[in-house]
Symmetry: none
DNA sequence: TATGAATGAGCCTTCATTCAT
DNA sequence: AATGAATGAAGGCTCATTCAT
């Protein structure tokens, strides 16, 4: 990405994109290196030249997915909004992002099967998240101060809830739809879930 | 399971148990048929005799996991409890069950990667869940009648939220812990999450 | 070799024979696992079932080759012969064996390229050779006693010389023939070398 | 080597040196073209520009190794020394050269695995060796004339013996040490071998 | 002269599955 | 009911070699 020629960087990126798609569809064990190279229109050998192994490629893809989400999340500027509005935006963003990026969900699922064995080798990801919790804490404090939020809320628990409300819905939509006998895939279902999730969080936060 | 001799039924069950463990640890693609037979102390050939293929074995394991959870959930008898207590029990049960059965979480993750392709072939699972939603609807109605619950709650959305509050936490505990830099594995963390989840649901349900 | 069924033992042996031929022809790195399986008329998978890896197969083949040579060498019963005759037999045997078993030579060459990395893992081979040196020492002592051998001979050095006189000739016959411009491959050349080797050793041993 | 610019000649030589080391360590099949280029600090493409292929590079390296040894051997001027002294010098030189140049030994081993297929394509090597045999024959004749050597010695056989006494010891030192349970690597072991080898040759040559 | 990028064949190994007993 | 042996397809990875600059 840095010292690479434009052509090499393009090949590298194509491999990365193809890997994201393949890993998301089939998981780490199910993904096929040949298929990734084919999708990338690249030679299999280049995959190893740039990433070393299937597993290192996995980690690179995973780190990229985290970074991409946090980049958008950062752009929300929750600290500049009124508390309730900030929370609403956070909930909506997480749900929409998750729905728009099922690959991210799939990567996380797989990575958790491996007990985060790969992510633990990453250095950048934890650094991405430490500021976020501080911002959420600040929003909660402002809301409590203004009398619109309850006072006893743990930012970490709340963040997990916010993400979980959307993530679980999207990640498990197929088994949920099958078990519960309802269609959960379309935009209408998503909008209904969005409204519900916002109500849950804001309803809970009422003093 | 029916017309089998006791010895055969025992072998079948050992294979099932071994498969659950192996699938949970490594996923569908990552699981090894040899390893399952080894763990079961059974000959690989028997696996094929009883289940036909790795994929059919997967489905059988999955159905068993769903049935086991619903059986315990049914034993809660939410319809016999006061509304708020019923909800609390439902939240607590789901969190605790999920935490106690990470294999179930792992199976669901995998199955969703496959867009529920296997579960869709199942017939028993949807039937398990249809009564549950009716029961939750009834609890909500009783709570609204009694003035302790708000009136606009969709039982399906609420159930997804209840399950999701615990499931997401448990299923993604490894990536969450790594990204957020906090330990989420022990009983203390679980109790904190439990308290939070109950407060979220009951806080939201306030009229 | 022990707890195997006759059929399995036969397959195992065919693989071993095929591996010996393939390794001798092409070396460890040059040998092809596919080719070994093909030559053995066995499925490639069985090779891994019985030997674990190409490298473990190599070691097994190597140990077998050592054991086979020492078994024949032991049958010479040098301790029962007159000293000069014992030495002559030892020289002739080593030359003839080496010439008849160019695979053994090829294995040793390869193994020395790897600085005996595989052989060092073997336990049986050193045990095979320790009695031999004692026997040679005894022959030397008897010869010196009888006044037909010089007195200052180191058994280890002598054994290396005896083996080397034939081994180097056979192992390097192709480069020697090319460099020196003489044919060294046939029975006549072998007999000439045999006579020379015996004369060198017995000539040297004269008091 | 001829019409090359100084810079090009230097690159070529670095490749040759690197190839010698890599081939000696890993053999022809085991050597890696990438590794040779890396060791040489040269681009892989230059290797092909100068030598055409891995195999042609092998032959060039091999020819160079032969030429280097013969150049030193020629400098001994055996024809100018008293017969016994000439023989001693020849034995000592061969042992010491072999010990000092294990790469040469490794190359020969490999080449013999291929039945001298590459060396046969060489034209220069046989020409190097034809004078040597004449010189040894002359020394033997002088020694016989003077009554210090026996009369029935074949110069070709003797040369093979002289080289073999050292070569086998050095080439097979790792397997020998492992099988015989003695350390053969250091200077002390080398000196012991040297003394033995000289005694064998001169002891044999006694009339 | 030199280089970074790319290639396709092939290697060792592993897998889910089936045969014969 | 159970088993040991076998299979063929494929998977991850590496290699010698060549292209384009």
């Amino acid at each position: 990405m840095d010292g690479l020629s434009p052509r090499a960087a393009a090949t590298r990126q194509r491999i990365l994109d193809a890997a994201l798609a393949e890993f998301a569809e089939k998981g780490l064990a199910g993904a096929r290196v040949d298929e990734i190279a084919l999708r990338a229109g690249a030679n299999k050998r280049m995959l190893y030249a740039y990433f070393g192994s299937k597993e290192e490629l996995w980690l690179t893809v995973l780190e990229g997915a985290y970074a991409a989400k946090r980049a958008e999340e950062r752009a929300l500027c929750v600290e500049a909004l009124p508390p309730a509005e900030a929370m609403r935006r956070l909930v909506e963003f997480n749900l929409r992002y998750t729905a728009a990026h099922p690959e991210f969900v799939a990567l996380l699922n797989q990575e958790n099967i491996h007990r985060a064995a790969y992510l633990r080798k990453s250095e950048g990801v934890p650094a991405l998240y430490s500021p976020l919790l501080g911002q959420i804490g600040a929003v909660l404090a402002r809301g409590a101060e203004a009398g619109v939020f309850r006072r006893d809320v743990d930012p970490v628990q709340l963040y997990i809830t916010i993400v979980g409300l959307g993530h679980f819905f999207v990640a498990n939509q197929f088994t949920l739809a099958t078990a519960l006998g309802t269609e959960l895939g379309g935009e209408a279902a998503l909008r209904a879930r969005e409204r519900h999730a916002v109500e849950v969080v804001l309803g809970y936060l009422r003093p």
